[in-house]
Symmetry: C2
Subunit: 348 residues, 2 copies
Amino acid sequence: MATGSGQDSPTINDVARRADVSVATVSRALRGLPNVAPSTRARVVEAAATLEYVIDPTASRLAGGRSHTVGLVVPMLGQWFHSQIFTGVEGVVGAAGYDVLPFTMSGPGGVARFIDSPPFRKRVDGLVVADAPLGNEQFEVVMAAGVTTVTLGVLVDGVAGLAVDNTAAARLAVGHLTGLGHTRIALIGGVDDDPFRFSVPVDRFRGYQEALKAAELTYDPELAVPGNFSLDGGAEAMHRLLALSDPPTAVFACSDEMAIGAMQVARDAGVRVPEEMSIIGIDDHDVSEYVGLTTIRQDVVGQGERAATLLLEQLGPDAPAPTHEIHPIRLVVRRTTGAPAPHTGKRG
Amino acid sequence: MATGSGQDSPTINDVARRADVSVATVSRALRGLPNVAPSTRARVVEAAATLEYVIDPTASRLAGGRSHTVGLVVPMLGQWFHSQIFTGVEGVVGAAGYDVLPFTMSGPGGVARFIDSPPFRKRVDGLVVADAPLGNEQFEVVMAAGVTTVTLGVLVDGVAGLAVDNTAAARLAVGHLTGLGHTRIALIGGVDDDPFRFSVPVDRFRGYQEALKAAELTYDPELAVPGNFSLDGGAEAMHRLLALSDPPTAVFACSDEMAIGAMQVARDAGVRVPEEMSIIGIDDHDVSEYVGLTTIRQDVVGQGERAATLLLEQLGPDAPAPTHEIHPIRLVVRRTTGAPAPHTGKRG
DNA sequence: CCTCGGCATGCAAGCGCTTGCAGTCGAGGC
DNA sequence: GCCTCGACTGCAAGCGCTTGCATGCCGAGG
């Protein structure tokens, strides 16, 4: 009667009977535990194979206390960045025999709901928290659930994690722009009403300011607009920038998606890129190469893989002390940045 | 000692004791089953709340026989199309209290491994198989695992599913091109060595041919090249097309990603789009709007939601007979298609 | 006043594994 | 020849829930 289940599949009992041993021995033999005679193990393995026995992960977990599942917390898997992380994580933990269960923070309630009742409770051995817009206090709550955690994109005290140096990335991007001679450089950044002080946009904003200072330019608040890390957000931001009485000649967008959104708006408005408007992003999105976007490259899949590896280590028998890693970034110059127009003024 | 688990969290026993009822009553009360006195239920709910009791899904599943998890089978979650499907599926089944466990077919072994030992065995109540490059025979194997299934993108006899009419979509796209006056129209399609006769590229190829025939054009095999459904694949395909002695004036790519890859190669080669080369895709990828790509739009997230809804129905108490649904498509004309270059003096 | 049908609740048997502990058996040591 | 020790294996007690069945209670009908 069980919905979704065909004929009864064999249990460990069936295997035990067929191999003429106890279920305990089957359990040990199949999991490669020591103290099983080689001949016995072979017999068990063969019995399992002929019966097409598949261990029931549910029962295994209940009895063993471990779920062999790692959770992946991301804002929303539908975004390129996060789906790449998933790819990296799943590749590594999958090879280690773990399932990966994604938890998104979209939908009604979003982050708040996530904090109130962490959905991963009782279902994962460990967690990769990627790019999560959580402040330290929110993190405390998550950690209180007592799940081994690795962060990606954000570093939290006492929790293993890896990230790029967002301040440096922003400095690199804006430095590229100032190096080309730009003096009016806009920032398209994160949400400005973020209640959790999510550090990624904050750090990039700081890097932006530092680079301006290094070039002896003054920071004009009018040029810093939110972009929500989406194509539409980038587009809207560019609309605002173009409406300024004295528009920028260059834009640093805190993600490639925002950069692409912004770029199209500029072109639609008749502003040539890069002749009249330089644009640089961060990420090196798959399509960036194909739209010629200059960007700060980071290896997203690689970061996912590394996070997974760190988590597996933490989950292992002799877990190393949690460490923080900074992953490299690189400026990739393509076709959306160039020197500012010789004479600042009206565009044609 | 348990890795990844903090202080012992309360069990159903603790709640029972606190509410002064049996665990059976707690179980029934918390799940909203009938035959529980309102006052009792209230007491139980309160006890659970004060204890911050969270049901252990593992135990629940073992005892109840249902995992409250649905699997999502996709080729690889890192691709836009599939991550959108995830978004749709997760939204719906998540609201229904299910977890979503993604299974990808990438990595070593890929599809074959997937068929040999379906990784979702014993872990899901139902399955959404999206866009899977499986032939009917492969599907038999998957179905043999006895899991309630809904397909997305491909229709299989006897299995509930939904898809767009791929032949019609291709006809619409190519018809748009012939309508503009193109006579040499290329196809950038799926992999050509697909061992499973994955129907999506096959159907689109048929639509391509039908549209050519409708316009009284002859099919030139030279103009049909594989593109692997990726940016790079599209780029490579365009390289091949441009190398032809008599290149096409228009290209129909079987996905927006391939179209974007192709478009950039054309532009890099100095071929103006759309003046000298029209390009149309399928999907309406997020960035398509921003690169001005003409395409055949389909609502991917909506399809994911619908597939999830169908699956939930199938999983429910009075499951309807499996049906097939065809979802709508729509031509979205943007800036990458136009009339062919005026060999015979049509337009400047 | 006694009985019967329903509703509310409790009992206890599992669900399929894992694992601490006990037992078996053969070989080596005294 | 008996005891000890070690390598294997089995026993059985759970892991935290769900659920069929039994029980107790109450009002209504006979």
